[in-house]
């Protein structure tokens, strides 16, 4: 079985994210890191391998600018055997549908039995790339999976929380599964794995290499225009108490509650 894991480089959570008003796109300067949600997808792949399924290969796949190589190195240090980096100027400004299409094209060349991805990207927060990719690959798919078991090497038994409680769904492979962050506790990479990550094969591909039609991607190929960025309506900021002396803090909370007749 071959598993591809989709990973993305995102601004570090500790850094303030902002829109560059001149381009209308996310400002990509500043510290960047592997999307934390994707570490759960890599860990899920590792657990399938360690759980006794015959996993020949775990391949990390990303679409992004040159700097995204670091996210791939991180993914490899967490267990991927090699990585694929789709990078091309023509892809800049792709919307969700175009990004999903480009990733699907890249995945097609790998013919994976299973594509795993994170529940959301920290910057895009679209929750949807998996379903777009699956439709292009013509594979069954499910998002928000928090328990994933391989059955008979050909099927997946998936559990997830949906609108009315927990659903258990059987999915035939090849399939695209996005995992929720409660699925596992990702491991930390060993120093040795971090040092060795740069030596693992990294395949850099351009849009033409994987048969991406240029009028389907980038700004021109995107079907949605985003603009008119504005701050949300101002909300009166709440009161803040820093807990230094807990007795005092508690006194203040009780007074606050009492003032509002909540006690």
């Amino acid at each position: 079985m071959k598993i591809c894991v989709l990973v993305k480089e995102v601004p570090d959570a500790a850094v303030e994210k902002r829109i560059d008003p001149s381009t209308g796109r996310l400002d990509r300067s500043g510290e960047r890191n592997l999307n934390p949600y994707d570490t759960h997808a890599i860990e899920a792949a590792m657990q399938i391998r360690e759980g006794g399924s015959d996993v020949e290969e775990i391949v990390a796949v990303t679409m992004g600018p040159e700097s995204a190589v670091r996210a791939l190195h991180k993914a490899v240090s967490l267990g991927a055997d090699r990585s694929v980096h789709l990078s091309d100027d023509s892809l800049a400004g792709s919307d969700v549908a175009a990004t999903g299409y480009a990733l699907a094209k890249t995945l097609q060349r790998e013919s994976p039995d299973l594509v795993l991805l994170g529940q959301q990207s920290d910057d895009g927060e679209c929750y949807t790339i998996g379903a777009v990719v699956a439709d292009h690959l013509q594979m069954p798919s499910l998002t928000q999976v928090i328990k994933l078991d391989v059955e008979d090497g050909a099927k997946l038994r998936c559990e997830r929380q949906a609108e009315y409680g927990y659903d258990t769904v059987s999915v035939e492979m090849p399939a695209v599964i996005s995992v929720g962050d409660a699925i596992n506790e990702p491991r930390y990479p060993s120093l040795k794995a971090i040092m060795g990550a740069k030596k693992k094969p990294l395949d850099a591909v351009a849009a033409g290499d994987v048969g991406i039609e240029s009028d389907h991607v980038g700004e021109a190929g995107s079907q949605v225009q985003c603009g008119d960025f504005k701050p949300p309506p101002e909300k009166a900021g709440g009161e803040i108490i820093e807990d230094e002396d807990t007795d005092e803090t508690v006194e203040k909370i009780v007074a606050w509650l009492d003032e509002r007749k909540l006690l």
Binding site: K17, I19, V96, A97, G100, E125, C126, T128, A131, V132, V133, A134, D135, H136, Q138, M139, P140, S141, L142, T143, Q144, Q161, A162, E163, Y164, G165, Y166, D167, T168, V169, S170, V171, A175, A182, Q223, V224, Q225, C226, G227, D228, F229, K230, P231, P232, K235, G238, I240, I241, E242, D243, T246, T249, V250, E251, I253, V254, W256, D258, L262, L263
Partner: protein, 324 residues
């Protein structure tokens, strides 16, 4: 006539509340556009004529009834793509919910349409729809406009269901040839309730616990405080998925929506999917050790500190105050 197609999810003989919101919103918008609002439903014999017709009360004109598996996205993508192409709908609109994200994204891929998710407001501009969505952890709002077709996926509770006016929709049975891959996911069990059946919706005082409680036993601190306040305990999805607390106590996108007099969050980061289920609470108090936690952006009183130190003393102080 261009129009808006929506999807209505149903379970145990009732249409989902978010879907009714989507139908109402689509009906309102299509009136402004001078077009019509239609609905797709998928299921078996449980989709009675009466249930389908009742969507007319919310503004639906035609209800396309398709025989198929309920609760999975891809068969719905097949159905909606076919109907949108046959009938010429320009937009698809979904209420906030998990399935809407999956169906909407699949449709965008299939029809090569523009898609926007987490939408909080839709308006008509020059005869077209424009959708607003908060981005970057709700720090900005962006507006989407569509080149051709547009797929709009609402945020939970963004679209309110209108008062049904008693009108009846036309029900049309449609046969859909499902894609081969759409039939490769099958529901084994649907809607399993995990953990005890607790009631949080009737409580005036809720103490909600998140991953910051550290371990399942951490919920004792929340329960003690809830007892002292005379309320109940709620939870985030993170701790429910981890099996620390029952599903019935979950608040948020795939849980309950509440608006108690007091909502006290302990060890909760304040993710958007949680926020949508509790932001209408009258008073929001948050205890979190991380001063940058998003929850402080929408709490009325924020306490930056360790809940293990604060909660036990707070419980005692509340008891003392009430006794005194």
């Amino acid at each position: 006539m261009p129009g808006i197609l929506t999807y209505a999810l149903h379970y145990e003989g009732a249409i989902n509340k978010n879907s009714l919101g989507a139908v109402s919103e689509a009906a309102k918008l299509s009136k402004e556009l001078g077009s019509q609002c239609d609905v797709v439903v998928l299921g078996g014999d449980d989709l009675s004529e009466e249930l389908c017709q009742s969507l007319g009360g919310y503004g639906a004109q035609t209800v396309y009834r398709v025989k198929g598996p309920e609760g999975l996205a891809q068969p719905v993508v097949d159905a909606m793509a076919k109907i949108m192409e046959d009938q010429g709908h320009d937009y698809a609109l979904f209420g906030g919910g998990l399935l809407g994200f999956e169906i909407g994204a699949g449709l965008a891929a299939r029809l090569r349409a523009g898609v926007t998710m987490e939408v909080t407001e839709v308006r008509v501009e020059d005869g077209k729809l424009a959708a607003e969505r908060p981005i970057l952890q709700d720090s900005m709002i962006s507006t989407s406009r569509y080149e051709n077709r547009g797929i709009i996926i609402g945020r939970l509770n963004a679209f309110e269901a209108s008062e049904p006016d008693g009108s009846s929709a036309t029900v049309q049975d449609v046969e859909v040839q499902f894609s081969e891959f759409s039939t490769k996911a099958t529901m084994i069990e649907r809607g399993e309730q995990r953990g005890a059946d607790v009631n949080i919706e009737d409580a005036d005082f809720l103490v909600a616990g998140g991953r910051g409680l550290g371990k399942p036993e951490g919920f004792q601190l929340a329960e003690d405080l809830a007892d002292a306040l005379g309320g109940a305990v709620a939870a985030t999805r993170a701790v429910v998925d981890a099996g620390w607390y029952p599903y019935a106590a979950q608040i948020g996108q795939t849980g309950k929506t509440v608006a108690p007099k007091l909502y006290l969050a302990a060890g909760i980061s304040g993710a958007i999917q949680h926020k949508v289920g509790m932001q209408s609470s009258e008073n929001i108090v948050a205890i979190n050790k991380d001063a940058n936690a998003p929850i402080f952006e929408f709490s009325d009183l924020g306490v930056v500190g360790d809940l293990n130190k604060i909660l036990p003393k707070l419980t005692e102080a509340v008891k003392a105050k009430k006794a005194g």
